[in-house]
């Protein structure tokens, strides 16, 4: 046995024991937008961070850089013994389905997609309800009766945002025009602020004076251009009002942080199955803070609060694009 073999053997043994020793506690894997996208992934990170600060414990995390890493990342954490493993983003659905069955003792949590397996908790949000609320605000704030929507990648989930938004707009102003654009059809559409700017400029020239961006990192460019051109914008996922104080009308907040926090707090025995977060359990909401309080009048506030209450009681039902892939208010 040569020295090299011994050395390699020793290293491998060390790596194995080290892996076993370090691996405990929960793990979170972010989607392609990256941990600090000021939006969806950042919200997930904030939830994990809040849990870490409150409990003083640590969590493992990973930012993928390409689609090819997905299944590998899941397996790595599962084999290292992390439990539960939280995945932020609908794109995790397929790789998780493939990997989860091999690790029956590990619980997985997927946000934004529903995967049916005995060890998976699927958290989905009623984005159409939150988008409906911000759509109402957009219609009330618009002076040109034209508002617009910039989506990221053209997928049913993003159309669900757009559809809810359009329904909210039409509820307040049936004659309003809603312009809708998608950034692209590949995952790079989440990270193209330059194209987001161009789409916004084109929408402004078609008369839009409120633009809602549901496009991850691309939304940064949308909000920037809206601020530069003096129109209002609506942020998404995280509260983005502070990005351009006084020029962001509101944000459609998706409490991804709560979803992550709850999963981490429940620990290894996290409840599996489908978990829907909507307006009634404060999973989605519109944001109101010091940056936009001057933009939201009392009437607007009363109108949205009423709609929220009606949604919670079931009196008002917003059409979900993903239920039948059609939208009554807008043609994609």
């Amino acid at each position: 046995m040569s020295f090299t073999t011994k050395f390699l053997g020793a290293t491998a043994a060390l790596a194995l024991t080290a892996g076993a020793a370090w691996a405990d506690g929960p793990a979170i894997i972010y989607d392609l937008g990256g941990k600090f996208d000021k939006s969806f992934n950042e919200s997930a990170y904030n939830g994990a961070q809040r849990w870490a600060e409150e409990t003083g414990e640590e969590f493992a995390e990973f930012e993928i850089t390409s689609d090819a890493q997905r299944e590998q990342a899941i397996r790595r954490f599962a084999e290292a013994g992390n439990n539960p493993i939280v995945m932020a983003g609908f794109s995790w659905g397929t790789p998780l389905e493939a990997a989860a069955a091999d690790y029956p003792d590990t619980n997985f949590v997927i946000i934004d997609a529903a995967v049916d397996a005995p060890n998976i908790r699927s958290v989905v949000f009623n984005e159409h309800e939150g988008s409906y609320l911000v759509g109402m605000l957009a219609a009330a704030a618009s002076e040109t009766d034209t508002v617009s929507f910039v989506g990221g990648m053209d997928i049913p989930l993003i159309r669900k945002f757009g559809c809810g938004y359009a329904q909210g707009v039409k509820a307040v102003n049936p004659d309003a025009t809603v312009i809708s654009n998608m950034t692209g059809t590949t995952p790079s559409a989440w990270n193209d602020p330059v194209k987001g700017s161009e789409l916004t400029l084109s929408q402004i020239s078609q008369g839009s004076d409120v633009v809602f961006a549901a496009a991850g990192g691309t939304g940064i460019g949308v909000l920037q251009t809206a601020a530069d051109e003096g129109i209002l914008s609506i942020g998404v996922d995280s509260n983005q009002n502070y990005l351009h104080s006084g020029q962001v009308l509101t944000s459609m907040v998706k409490r991804v942080d709560n979803a992550v926090y709850d999963a981490f707090a429940a620990g290894e025995n996290v409840e599996v199955g489908l978990n829907v977060m909507g307006v009634e359990n404060e999973g989605v909401a519109y944001s109101l803070d010091e940056h936009n309080e001057e933009l939201i009048t009392d009437e607007m506030k009363a109108m949205v609060e009423e709609a929220s209450a009606q949604m919670a009681s079931g009196e008002l039902e917003v059409h979900d694009y993903m239920s039948d892939e059609t939208c009554p208010a807008i043609d994609f």
Partner: protein, 386 residues
């Protein structure tokens, strides 16, 4: 579609074309001197990052621009060192620069600003803002109500950042340098026949280094334009493959400055169309005419080439014809009769619009561009004869 729409399309084309144009001219100088440069993307990205970071800290966009140019030149010199001095493989060195920039920008940005590989948003006075000429309208909503001349003046002529005007000026400047100066003659010669230049007693190494440094300056401006003029800050991978599109434009332009302007504006126009007309409504007959024309052009092109081209492009043409017919048949459900279906208005699928730039390039290449011949000594390190 009114006049203002056309003006805006032109305006957006120029805006989208400038980074391509600068990168394309950078590639032109480098490749004309015999150094292939697929590291344009990486140099732009590094420049975009450093320009944004330095503008943010110093509060001055010009200082940021200088920093961007600086890092881009530094990367060019690495490329030069590898491919001129050490006579390494130019493609590998270029790929290395791309990977290096893609990774390092994010890591350094995370280290400096801790915002996940992006810089914070730049304040207004640390950016290259649009220059409004006297009497020009600034808000889009005001421009829409103005008369055509005011629209053209305010939207197309005025309102760009200084880098756009400078970028357009580099085209005649490059032409003049390449075709009307002694330096330009030598630069072109060193890419065609370096041994002849060497025989005349002129240093090949020095000329080639000068060329890659010029390429570095131009890439630096392109990167700074993206992060401090178009956008307000750096985001991960923000160049979005523009460096590679610039290389395609360079071949399309047959390594000539004025053609490069045309090629980049054409690409800019395609992107502008893609951004602007995602929800275009057209009568079925127009969609079919367009698709069939594209299919016919591609097939004709492929027939002149080899069998593999015929298989690939012929297949693509068949798909286009199929899409056209499917649109027609789809419209028949709503209209009565096949003829009426031809005049039914349907929404053009956004995927089709997004693929237009690439389809158009094939069509234009087939019809209007002859054979593109690269500089003869391109890609080969020069070894002095002893």
């Amino acid at each position: 579609m009114d006049f203002f729409t056309f003006v805006q399309l032109g305006d957006a084309s120029v805006r989208m074309a400038i980074p391509l144009l600068l990168a394309c001219l950078a590639g032109l100088f480098s490749e004309r001197a015999g150094i292939f440069d697929i590291g344009l993307e990486g140099k732009m990205l590094a420049a975009a990052f450093l320009a944004a970071a330095v503008s943010l800290v110093s509060g001055n966009a010009w200082v940021g621009l200088l920093a961007g140019i600086g890092i881009s030149i530094a990367l060019s010199l690495i490329h030069g060192l590898a491919s001129i001095t050490f006579r390494g493989n130019q493609l590998i060195s270029g790929v290395a620069i791309n990977f290096f920039a893609a990774g390092l920008t994010v890591v350094v940005a995370q280290g400096w600003f801790a915002q996940g590989g992006r810089t914070p948003s730049l304040p207004k006075d640390a950016r290259f803002n649009g220059i409004d000429f006297p009497g020009a309208l600034t808000r889009v909503r005001d421009k829409m109500q103005a008369d055509p001349w005011a629209q053209f003046y305010s939207e197309f002529i005025s309102g760009h950042s200084i880098l756009v005007y400078l970028g357009l000026l580099t085209v005649p400047l490059s032409w003049w340098v390449l075709y009307r100066t002694r330096f330009g003659l030598r630069l072109r010669a060193v890419g065609e026949a370096p041994e002849a230049v060497d025989t005349a007693g002129i240093s090949v190494v020095r000329l080639r280094y000068t060329a890659v440094i010029i390429a570095g300056v131009l890439c630096g401006v392109a990167g700074a334009y993206l992060s401090t003029a178009v956008q307000a800050g750096f985001t991960k991978d923000m160049t979005a493959n523009r460096g590679f599109i610039a290389l395609a434009a360079l071949i399309f332009a047959k390594w000539r400055p004025w053609y490069a302007l045309g090629a980049c504006l054409l690409f800019g126009l395609f992107f502008a169309i893609d951004n602007r007309f995602q929800n275009i409504q057209l009568e079925v007959i127009w969609i079919m005419t367009g698709l069939f024309a594209a299919a016919a052009a591609m097939t004709l092109y492929a027939l002149r080439r080899e069998r593999i081209d015929l298989i690939v492009l012929g297949g693509l043409s068949a798909v286009l014809v199929f899409v056209g017919l499917a649109t027609w048949i789809g419209a028949m459900d709503e209209a009565i009769g096949a003829t009426a279906a031809l005049f039914e208005t349907v929404k053009v699928p956004s995927q089709l619009i997004q693929s237009l730039p690439y389809l158009f390039v094939v069509v234009v290449l087939a019809g209007f561009v002859g054979k593109a011949i690269p500089p003869r000594a391109g890609g080969q390190p020069y070894v002095k004869e002893r």
